[in-house]
Amino acid sequence: MIPAPFAYARPTTVDEALQAVASGGEDVKILAGGQSLIPVMRLRLAAPETVVDLTKVAELRGVREEGDAIVVGAMTTHSDVITDPLIARYAALIAAATETVADRQVRHRGTFGGALAHADPAGDLPAVALALDAEFVIAGLSGRRTVPAAEFFVDYLTTALEEGELLVEIRVPKHEGWGMHYEKFNRVAQAWSIVAVAAVVRREGDRIAEAKIGLTNMGPTPLRARGVEEALAGAEATADAVAAAAARAAENTSPSSDLNAQADYRHHLAQVLTRRAVTAAAGL
């Protein structure tokens, strides 16, 4: 369908973008890759007054190294993320998960920051960002602030981004020597996850020193499976230990019931997928 008429701004810098958003009127939407916003606008479930297109804001693109972290520009496309060498080296989980997103065409337009700011609990990247303890750098007219992933995802489709603010970049701590795996469960190839698990595991000899588990679609926001992480810390790197820990995956989750799965099935899937993800990430 055709979106309702809107005003269009195409800034070239972050400051211009913030100005455009501030002066955009009552209902302003920011356009990153458009892979989530445009369909909603075409269905006329949203009819923003102004759309601020960030495609030309070059400073928002690209991945760089900064000390003990890598910094991913919010407008970096999925396809660029998949091929980026810094991500491959320090946060391979992001590339692995991004490869499962939709299809080639979508990945060439969709962006890392856009997907995170959209905060769809069934999207793959929020759980990955959460598992990697990423930090979100947000710009507003009064300056910048940094929000840790644990506080960034507030609710269904809602983040810590206030009106008038822009997600600029995402700092991901370098993870060297960690095993990583994204286990996604969906019915057809391009579909959203019914449930998915991001596992980041650090081995020390025959033990698992530390594990970080992000859950996709087990609630209105991505979640960390704290119970599993607790059980895995210092555990033996064996299939049994992993299975026992994975049994705690559904703790403190509140998945919704929908056409793809009811809550109890999601609880079960979380356990099975966590086991599989951790097993792979632990190199077992």
Binding site: F185, V188, A189, L259, A261, Y265
Partner: protein
Amino acid sequence: MTVTENAAELAPAKEVGQARRRKEDARLITGRTTWTDNMTLPGMLHLAVVRSPVAHAKITSVDLTAAQQAPNVVAVFSGRDFAEEQGSIPCAWPVTPDMVNPGHPSIAVDEVNHVGEAVAIVVARSKSAAQDAVELVDIDYDVLPPVLDMEEAVKDGADLVHDQLSSNTSYHFVFDAGDAGTGANTDEAFTDAEVVVSRRFIQQRLIPAFMEPRSVVVQPQGDNFTMWSATQVPHVLRVMLAMVTGVPEHKLRIVAPDVGGGFGGKLQVNPEEVLSLLVARRLGKPVKWTETRSESLMAAHHGRGQVQYVDIAADREGNVKGLRVRLLADMGAYLRLITPGVPALGAFMFPGIYKFPAYRFECDGVFTNKVPTDAYRGAGRPEATFAVERIMDELAVELGVDPLELRRKNWIKAEEFPFTTVAGLEYDSGDYDAATQQALELLGYDELRAEQQRRRESGDPVQLGIGFSTFTEMCGLAPSRVLGSLAYGAGGWESASIRMLPTGKVEVVTGSTPHGQGHETAWSQLVADQLGVPFEDVEVLHGDTAVSPRGMDTYGSRSLVVGGTAVIKAADKVVAKARKVAAHLLEASEDDLDFSAGKFTVRGTPGAEIGIQEIALAVFAAHNYPEDVEPSIDADATFDPVNFSFPHGTHICAMEVDTETGMVKIRKYASVDDVGVIVNPLIVEGQIHGGLAQGIAQALYEEAVYDADGNLTTGSFVDYLVPSAADLPHFDTGNTVHAAPGNPIGAKGVGEAGCIASTPAVVNAALDAVRHLGVSDILMPLTPERVWRAVHQGGDGGDRAPAGTNAYGGAQTESTAGVSTDASLGGEL
């Protein structure tokens, strides 16, 4: 020894049988053609339809003022504006004399009966202006309770879809072999039976989801009208529109330009086609309407939608004794073109390839507050094949015998053809054994069975199952007299006309209307062989009633069998006419002439020859031609088949089931189909693949779900899952060939075969993998959740979301396994 080779005897390779690349593909695949939506006419206005958001309501007020004042809006109409002239969408198949048809307005006047029903039309100068104005139309509804569940709808005292009727049942159709004299009565067969197995199966509602959305352009020229429409049935549409709107038929021209797929979904007289014509007539201006995808999923007709109660009777050795079928068929809110007939089409196919002595079929067409159903690939036959192939597996389990052996024991043997079934159909030719043997080899059956055993013994979390579907179907619609006896409103013939142009090129005008089937290529191959002209010299014209005036269009796997035969017969007539001219020009007697490879030669006179393309030129000049003929060798033919044709096949699916998650994956899929003589193997393979994709999709992915309020919750491809190539396995296909005796090509029709056979093969395979875990049935589509629930909680997988929530609703209905079978009859409870 010298071998003298006569050039005339070295016939060039026949076209028929060659895997010719399709002529139409370059433009179809790149899209470089004029689809209906690409058409732009001077002064053209754009229509947008305002649709009801509620499933069942009285319209209490309609306020068009804001919409009428919107920028660039030319007019806004409501149902009241067309109440007098819109008539009713025609139903061309009143299956029983007392069938109830409440009438189907193209635009709602006083009440709406399904979500998506048209309630107003906006006419504007641009598509976006029309879309913007849709939001401004203000309509109030007095909501009534929606009728959504068929089993509830047929109970006494149920809410009514149409309150002017006394019930929700449109018709009760019965076919009883005993009464028809084609077999025995089922009552005795069942009372005497040693074993009876009863099941309830659900054929879920599906959406045809053709790639090109529906689109209509109407151009008035004085009191003539030309309509371009993405339709499968321009000829049918012309007749029907004339009858509904009163536009005289000879003043109406329908053109189906290149059409991007239909699958039966465009076999329809659409309300939007009627409305476009009415609006164009009223305004005197050209108009265009094109739907969006979500509109298409919601408002274009759906397919399938049946609750099936199936009983099979047998003796302990596994000989089948009787089959009883009782269906509830979901009509939707209204009867469209052949809505009531689709389940009836399956009536004769439930016995499948088996020699049932007794058979009875009953079907109730039931109204619900959903969009109407109608033809969708297979139209009645996939439903029938599913039921019989599933119940045969259930019987095999009950008897503890191999499912393939049970089938073999009961199916028609090769030497028994032609065979008249208990449903009164004469199956023409075939060999189920040969096809099955080939399929087993293609699959690697023995190794897979061994693997299944190993996995079972070791309790592997991933289990393997193998499912069969040995099917036949009736296609090549159809002998007109048979259609008449079934009260079908039209005939089943097809027409073709061939003209040879002065330069020797050939124009073939066909009454078939391809929308992806490749007729331009296949007909060129047929004509190339018949006339002996090069393949490239043949041009096939179709789809425009001004160009192809006579036809019955394309559906039901009929075009090659019926339309191709018409082409052959027309070509034969051309050759016969040309022979007269050749005889004259060669100064020989017609009987002394041979015709081969496009040339007439005089027997015994080497060098005396004339090509048919030369004759075409000669006839054009008409300087020298026999006195008693007209200077033309053009000819046409209309062919009315004497019987249906019956392709058959054996499909075997090997399926992995991950019992931990319920995810199923097709490990291997082998199918050997007999579609008679194959004109173009590439096209046949493409048709099989496409049919398999849709049949597998029904088993695993697709379902049109309505919630408790009658909203279609699978309103986009996010939720209506159409599989892509990434989701489907490699298909191992093969063919056997038993020529169809009923047409000179020997072809049997292939368009729907893959779709008809595959669904039960897939479901049987999944069940075979987990039966030992206590699973006896799983509802389609086999979502991972359903499989998991069936394995771990028992039952059939259940509803897909808690009943009463907005994701899925409707009344609670009973689960499927083991319905009403008395233990004393050996069936399960």
